[in-house]
Symmetry: C2
Subunit: 462 residues, 2 copies
């Protein structure tokens, strides 16, 4: 702890901090935004505006640009006095010592990987806000009771390797290291997570486990990625839980055929069938108050005048309740083979020529049950928000909410008290280059994150 262990200006210990002390811990908005945009030089995506920072991001997990962002994270947190550990999933834990170091650190964490056409805030805000928290603690010569950490989780997006939050999942013991290491890129290629971790030099020796790197708590600042805070004119979302979701790969097997010589009834058109299935998944979602989405579709052979013989597509099902996702799964498993074999469920064949039967297989790739966060952490966030926004305004400017997106906090919550802080996303747009949150909101979120962590540490000191 280079800068910190020198002659302290004001060696404030969290156990002694009162509300005034807490509210004096001020995030530096410019510095935070500089970290965000500086690190977005690695994996810069599509431009959507004229300003230098008006581009999206395309920093797939374990790519060369991810490696550069990771290197920055390691160097920066070490220069701020942290010790860094890399585990067997490439998760990077930066730990700032406390007064007592015999107990687990309280962590702030998120991820530096992005969608292929993602934005500058999803994940990145949470990690850079964690770094800003370290700077604020150092600037104010704060000595926490127990260590405080910042974690960068690997492949949270699930965009390159098709399990989201996979590395916090391994850490939590919910996903096996072997399954994770063997995950292949979603777009045909030969890379696995293990090969890419090794290639970029982030295959750490420390076992990825809550046993090797325990956490006292996990706080995550994130953009909402939906429209609710903005629509309600709120500044801070106090996240009480996360919705359930499940990912499938659907394979439709038909027969390659000539488009000019094969009449409609003699076809086994895998793409036409896939179109019916995708449409049907939306009908089921509508009827069951769930979400259904297909983001990836590959067909073969891919020729204008050949009816495609096979199609593979992803299916992402979400709902507030596990039972709804279970029901959607049952309906899909019941209806998809029926539609492929030619039954006219909900007009899926209406007006179309009946064709030869096709076969369908459905594989589950990933499952994340609905979870509730921890009351103590939620209270820390609430109190931090009240302190940052002011007691008079806190009710008007915050709302409790449940996340529609998955986050590493889901798996963290299985092994330690956890909660999240949301800030508004412009027009609710995310997983899109235009994703945007204001500088003020980013700083406000970082401020609430910093206070939440310190409050939790203070609670432990009591």
């Amino acid at each position: 702890r280079r800068s910190f262990s020198a002659t302290p200006r004001w060696n404030l210990q969290t156990r002694d901090m009162n509300e005034e002390h807490l509210s004096s811990l001020r995030v530096n908005q410019c510095r935070l935004l500089e970290d965000i945009h500086y690190t977005c030089q690695w994996g810069t995506g599509e431009r959507w505006g004229d300003a230098p920072t008006e581009t999206g991001m395309s920093r797939l997990a374990l790519s060369d640009s991810d490696r550069q962002a990771r290197d920055w994270f390691v160097e920066t947190t070490e220069s701020l006095g942290c010790k860094t550990t890399i585990d067997s999933m490439g998760n990077i834990f930066a730990i700032r010592p406390g007064l007592k170091n015999d107990k687990a650190p309280t962590f702030a964490g998120s991820h530096l990987d992005t969608q292929p056409t993602g934005g500058r805030y999803d994940g990145i805000l949470g990690v850079t806000a964690g770094v800003e928290m370290l700077r604020v603690l150092n600037d104010n010569w704060v000595e926490t009771e127990y260590p405080v950490g910042v974690v960068n989780w690997t492949n949270e997006e699930g965009a390159r390797f098709p399990k989201s939050m996979v590395s916090s999942g391994v850490w939590a013991g919910s996903i096996s290291l072997e399954d994770a290491h063997n995950l292949r890129e979603v777009h045909p290629g030969t890379a696995t997570m293990a090969s890419e971790l090794a290639r970029i030099g982030y295959l750490g020796k420390t076992p990825s486990s809550y046993k090797s790197i325990p956490m006292a708590a996990h706080f995550e600042l994130h953009i909402e990625q939906g429209p609710l805070l903005e629509m309600a004119n709120k500044k801070i979302g106090i996240v009480k839980g996360v919705n359930a979701y499940r990912w499938f790969t659907v394979r439709v097997q038909g027969r390659d055929a000539h488009t000019g010589t094969t009449d409609l009834k003699s076809r086994a058109d895998a793409l036409l069938t896939a179109a019916k299935l995708i449409l049907h998944s939306h009908r089921l979602a509508t009827a069951n108050n769930a979400l259904a989405s297909t983001g990836i579709l590959h067909l073969t052979p891919g020729s204008t005048n050949t009816v495609p013989g096979s199609v593979t597509f992803s299916l992402d099902i979400r709902a507030g309740k596990d039972e709804t996702v279970d029901k959607m799964t049952q309906l899909i498993e019941r209806d998809f083979p029926a539609i492929a074999s030619g039954s006219n469920i909900l007009n899926s064949q209406e007006g179309c020529t009946p064709s030869l039967p096709l076969s369908v297989s459905i594989t589950q790739d990933f499952n994340s049950a609905a979870i509730n966060f921890h009351d103590t952490c939620i209270s820390c966030v609430k109190e931090a928000a009240a302190s940052v926004l002011g007691l008079e305004k806190v009710d008007a400017l915050t709302r409790e909410m449940v996340s529609g997106a998955g986050h590493d906090s889901v798996y963290a919550s299985k092994r330690c008290p956890t909660s999240m802080i949301f800030i508004p996303s412009r027009e609710g747009i995310s997983h899109n280059p235009r994703e945007f949150s204001t500088e003020e909101d980013c700083a406000l979120g970082a401020q609430v994150l910093t206070q939440s962590v310190v409050r939790f540490d203070r609670l432990r000191a009591e």
Copy 2:
């Protein structure tokens, strides 16, 4: 004409040939099949059976394997006494001199390129049967009245560069050389037809035109690629014309969005819309006695948890009559934007949550009007079939038909009398590795082709 100009064993001239002479011109079945399978070493595709020849083909136009097959064609036809010319589209014309060489040759022709998952007969049969015809003429010391040629047309399939029959189209003056040279690969890449022609050494100096290389007639032997001959127990199809077809690229523009935080009504899901459009194209095809097929679909960004913001797909529309293809085009141009913007045409939205409007653009890539072949050529094929099959059996074993697939004969027919000969395809399967025709049927077809060409030459001599 090496082997031919030496002391002739029996220098039979077509002008002197009677029916007995004609029927003595016998195709060598083993030799023909050897040429087919020998040349299928270049671009061998997926295996479907245990026998050495039970694989499909994957020899995309202007690939390295196409170059190897072309080299074989040039060497073989030259060794059989032909002079070869390569034009600016890489079409290869092999010409065997006749008694008089002041008039255009009579051609047999087809193509050596295949679909990405094609078979061993589509196109390949026509070219190798042309080579077998040359061998038969040589073996029998036949001197034709005018030259006889064999042509290998470039990129007939349209599978790699998205205009089928593009090089016979340039030859016929129906497609501009510039448009053809600038065609890009359908699967994202940087190659154009011009760059690939140059790369494999088949960018000839002779202008691709019926003016530089005129044809007296064009005969093409081809597998039917449909089930009609087999179902009717016929051996030879006498092809009187070809159906109309048109290719489009449809682009759907929506908005990338998070699959977990974007409710169904706030989405502009380009893949869901594409699914509705593809389904609708089938409904229109069913209602109008046409065919509609989508063989290529690309989406971006391609991530499980991102609603795709854009989708591009091919649309292949076919019918017996030009008016039907015109009507389908009008309906598609009317309905596609309406469906994308949210109108409930033919239940396309039934049961689905209405979404944000999307935009659609439709570009026509290729158009081939219905055509009728030439009576003289059709008669030559009929007479040849009667001679080969026997007068008593010809009615039972042949049928007149119209081709559902496009062929280079379509464009050839715009500049010279043309007709085609079909042989049965097992189960009507084509554009599939399992495409198959029996050895006997291949030889029978080659026999009818040879006689048709000689009969046409004899007609010219009269």
